[in-house]
Symmetry: C2
Subunit: 379 residues, 2 copies
DNA sequence: ATGAAAGCGCTAACAT
DNA sequence: ATGTTAGCGCTTTCAT
């Protein structure tokens, strides 16, 4: 039992703890903690001896114990509908990258757009003492469970949706303006009858009021509604009448057939549109599929313009013009704001909730042509 | 200070703990824990009183404290190259679904295929006391850090890659057979010169030996190499010569241009192929793009067959025939095996590591035609 | 069937 | 600059 070359080692094959390191370095646990944690005072010599011991033992702090003591877990939560969806997995990557830089990790919870699952997710995350949560809320009205999180002193940032009248920061794309720009582009190309194909939350359906001069959609801000607003606003701004028949809304999460039917119905109108604006990637896919199946030539016979970029939009012919939102950056931004709040806890009450709107970009490709009704349009 | 209707409540706005519940129910902490946890004995009456108190207080167990005591965190880790990649996000969803059923959560760590990041990821997960880890290892040889995890008594399941000679369970697709089937299909359609376009780990390059009668590729099993094996094997089985010029391998993570060049080089051969087998989704995309740009008609002038299904493969014309791996199910299966190991810890040493190979499916669509060399092929 | 008490590994307040 | 000590919230013997 030599003691000189081999100072105390933990007998077990288990992970060494701070006591082991301290013993090996011949100091107290508190000193070892200070030396390793880099806080408080410790002499250079002790610092070296301790980190040497830690290295030899392969010591790694037990973050559970640290969390218990400090209240900081170095874990944040991401609550979304479905991580396998391209929007969320891209945002997730942005969140992860920020978290890593902060020494934090991310737990993902899928809700499938079910409020009950979202409520459970927040409870579970709270019970794991997460430092904060990025959430894409199912509902923009029912947010008692989210308030409960902030009430517990845990910062929350809402992604992709503003929460009405909750003092919660949010990061969303400029859905209304992005759509407005796209519709403006169609109008500039001579289109007068432009269809809007989109999805809406079945639980929070919009109530559309289509008027001769002004049209509007009631309900709180959310991407699906804001895009309709952008559409309506631009039409009105150009003095064009809105036509209820040109607006097809299917419930979110509908079977692909429902979307196809919606597109087909619009195409079959007596006075059909000359351009289709598809307000989300699912609709864009359905519309493109159907047009392609029907042999409708794009953009010669029908223009197509969509929201959300996807890999395939440049692979098909014609390449689809789209409005893109910076999904990765939205995740990144949400996470950055979250960590700011974690570092500087708001003084209770928290104010109004900062709303960050990130710009979309319009990618002009080949799926929009001049309107057939608009004679004299060059190639 | 009425005590009858309002038994003790925690004064603070903070989360109530077991002591609060116990006090309100008028029992000891141990009893409250038993009643809530559903273990040990407790009278029906006490049980009801305790859960009533818990409900009233909005009590939720503090899992950090529970983990500290029990050693079980109800968290598992998923270590992958990049969660925004479709393969991983789909697998992730499978893992999450299983975890949820088990009352567990998932922390994701991205490695960008960097060994150093993977090593750090495993260390970090260990320090969070995760119950197990699903990992897609960067390297199939360098797995000391993974062994360290199992040595710490934490189960690991490897996804998409077998670990050579490590006693670690793995779940992979039947890359070799899936490819063999696809190549067999091409041969049956009369193709004799079939190009193989794929990617390989820059750190673990394969050494190809192309012989008159037999060809082989050295190196441990991994998807990229196994697909080459399936290709070579099928060629040999059909008595067809392998041609080194028809095999183009770019380093994984190469810029798109590199892939495009590789495809172009194969097309420009003096004796060009009549069919292209693209061994991963990136290559499929590059090949399709280039063919489309060059105006090469598929499948009339060139057949195309790929590995991995993607949304766009049915959107483009012709629709691409592909070999698909069940990504969601692979994640699900890996997680199921992980939880089995968590529930029944292996008796140290752990045996040889169970290898699960999940079948791929061949989706015969429109991108494969009869070879031009093969006269008399019907439409 | 219930309670008392120890202790998981760490950090932070206090003492030296 | 370093050591001592208490305690985070829970689970789990061990008594009763």
């Amino acid at each position: 039992m030599a003691t000189e070359p081999g100072p105390p080692r933990p007998a077990k094959g288990a992970r060494p703890n701070l006591k082991d390191v301290a013993a090996r370095a011949g100091v107290s646990r508190a000193t070892a903690a200070r030396a390793l944690g880099g806080y408080g005072y410790s002499s250079r010599e002790v610092m070296e001896r301790v980190s040497e011991a830690a290295r030899e033992l392969g010591y790694e702090v037990n973050r559970i114990a640290r969390t218990m003591r400090s209240g900081k877990s170095d874990i944040i939560g991401f609550v979304c509908a479905d991580i396998s969806d391209a929007f969320f997995s891209s945002a997730m990557r942005g969140i992860c990258d920020v978290a890593r830089r902060q020494g934090s990790k991310v737990i993902v919870m899928n809700t499938d757009d079910q409020l009950a699952q979202e409520q459970e997710a927040t409870r579970v995350l709270l019970s794991h003492e997460v430092d904060g949560i990025v959430i894409t809320p199912v509902s923009v009205r029912e947010h008692a469970h989210i308030d409960a999180v902030t009430d517990a002193g845990v910062p929350v940032v809402s992604l992709d949706r503003h929460l009405s009248d909750a003092g919660i920061d949010s990061v969303v794309a400029d859905n209304e303006d992005g759509t407005a720009h796209a519709i403006g582009h169609l109008i500039a190309r001579g289109h007068r009858r432009i269809a809007f194909l989109g999805s809406v939350q079945p639980e929070e359906p919009p109530s559309l009021r289509i008027g001769k001069l002004r049209s509007s959609v009631a309900g709180p801000s959310r991407p699906s509604l804001d895009r309709i607003r952008g559409y309506l606003r631009t039409l009105a701004g150009a003095g064009l009448p809105a036509d209820r028949d040109l607006i097809a809304l299917v419930p979110q999460g509908s079977a692909p057939e429902r979307r196809l039917e919606a597109v087909a119905a619009v195409l079959a109108l007596d006075d059909p549109p000359t351009a289709l604006f598809t307000a989300d990637s699912y609709m864009t896919k359905s519309a493109f599929s159907l047009l392609s199946e029907l042999g409708v030539r794009v953009p010669e016979e029908m223009s197509l313009l969509g929201f959300d970029d996807l890999e395939w939009t440049t692979l098909v012919r014609p390449r689809i013009s789209v409005v893109v939102q910076p999904t990765y950056d939205m995740g990144r931004t949400a996470a950055e704001q979250l960590f700011t709040k974690i570092a500087h806890p708001a003084p209770a009450g928290g104010g109004r909730g900062r709303r960050t709107v990130v710009p979309t970009r319009f990618l002009d490709r080949d799926s929009v042509g001049g309107s057939l009704l608009d004679k004299g349009t060059g190639p």
